[in-house]
Amino acid sequence: MLSLNDITVDIQNSRILRGISLAVGAGELVCLVGRNGAGKTTTLRTVMGFLTPLSGTITFNSQPLPGMPTYRVAQLGIGYAPEESEVFGDLTVEENIEMPTWTRPRGRPALERVELAYKVFPKLRQYAKRGGTQLSGGERKMVSIARALALDAPLLLLDEPSEGLSPAIIPTISEGIASIRKLGRGILMAESNVHHIPDYADRLYVIERGEIIFSGKPGDVRTRPEVMRVITGTA
């Protein structure tokens, strides 16, 4: 589904990504783990077309993505929930979730897509008429993920979905992500906290200073103390 091969990205003459390669298959949950500043968000933004790689290839369902404008990447079927839980404050929760059904009208009927989003995060239904500015951080995060899901995207990019949330709300977000995976959607999740990585993740990539230093099953990473030291911040 999504494949990054040897991606190199510079931002203002600084090399941020150095030959990143990773893959996400249909229905897979893949985690990209790394410390702050390691290059996780840059990787997701490069996939979304905000940054153009200096070298390497990115393909989504065999279609090359570099050079494609962001709106086209989204319309192809990649839903992005950024780290800042970007919810439109002037729009209601309902409008926020409906919006992708207008920008990507093909695929499943709009009503079905919106219902699916509410099914994943049932709590949002009671806030449907509430404005985006009246939501808590956790609720905003839910709206952000539900909105990406309403794009009817086969692949979702979730940037630190648990970042900055109270421990009470994290299980709700985790359950939502598990439900999305059960729907057969591929997920590439960037995460800085190794403890927030779901046990059912199919594959793990550890990124450090723009390089992938580990790829494999989540359980295998624990057998690599040097990698664990990096992702737990003790290196």
């Binding site: 989204a74 950024p82 729009l91 207008w102």
Partner: protein, 336 residues
Amino acid sequence: MRSHLLVLLLLAVLALLPQVAGQYHLTLMIPFFAYGIALLGFNLLFGYTGLLSFGHALFVGIGAYAAAAITSKLGLRSFELILVASAVGAFLVAIPVGLLSVRYTKIFFGMLTLAFGMLFHSFLFKFYDITGGDGGMRVLRPSLLGMDLSTLDKTAFLTGPFYYYCLVLLGFAGLAMWRMVNSPFGLHLKAIRENPRKAEYLGVRVRLYRLFAFLISAMYCAMGGAILAVSTGLADPELAYWTHSGNLVFMVVLGGFANFLGPIVGAFSFIFLQDQLMSLTQYWRFFLGATLALIVILFPRGLMGLLQDLGGRFRAAEAPAPQRISHELGTERVNP
């Protein structure tokens, strides 16, 4: 529901106004209708899309000169034709101007639109043979819905059939804009204003939507310009001058760009405030400027924002005292 009733009530008051108001004030209502229509479009770009243009007088000028060209040069008198020609002319000019301008935002967008406005003004000023130069072009009285009204004197025409024609036009223009801003298109514009990058993540074609908003605003401004030209009987290059673009901004800020009715309230307040100040002092521009400064400082959401705040306070005062619920005891007690 309450706001719909209020709008209907206001339209009814405006419809009855010719029965009670004097002719002088009724003639002032024609520019109000013109600016009301123009500003509805202007605010789609400014209030809803977040792009502040300092050159939209260009399109007001196109509407006025379209009216002049059709009536004076082509000898056609249909006001419906004038409106269509104004809108089409503005649309055609707005395509290249918009394509170049919406690539930028904030001050760069403002300066670029200002530059295009100045270019057009220079064209009107210098190409005397085509535009009449500083003297402008005459706009002959048009027919309304095929009715030749040349037997009426000018005041009777403006305060009678033309008044009602413009009122209905403002109603339709407002209804069309209301539907637009509450449609997915309008919500896309709001999303773009709030955060264009975020909107792109969801598949919104930001530049295309900005261009659409630009084109629509240009057409509304041109229709307003056509009404202004008919009311004065002249297409004047000053209509396209940058100070006139400043007036459009002034009116929207005065009324409140965050509210749908703000531009209309702004147009009304500006016209009558200007008229009163002009009759009181030769330094009216000073007082008009001071008024804008005070409004921006004291009421940044404009007159509509002020009205909303007052309404909110009134409702809060009318509402029953809040009740505090004691969860521990499962009882309810009223605040002292």
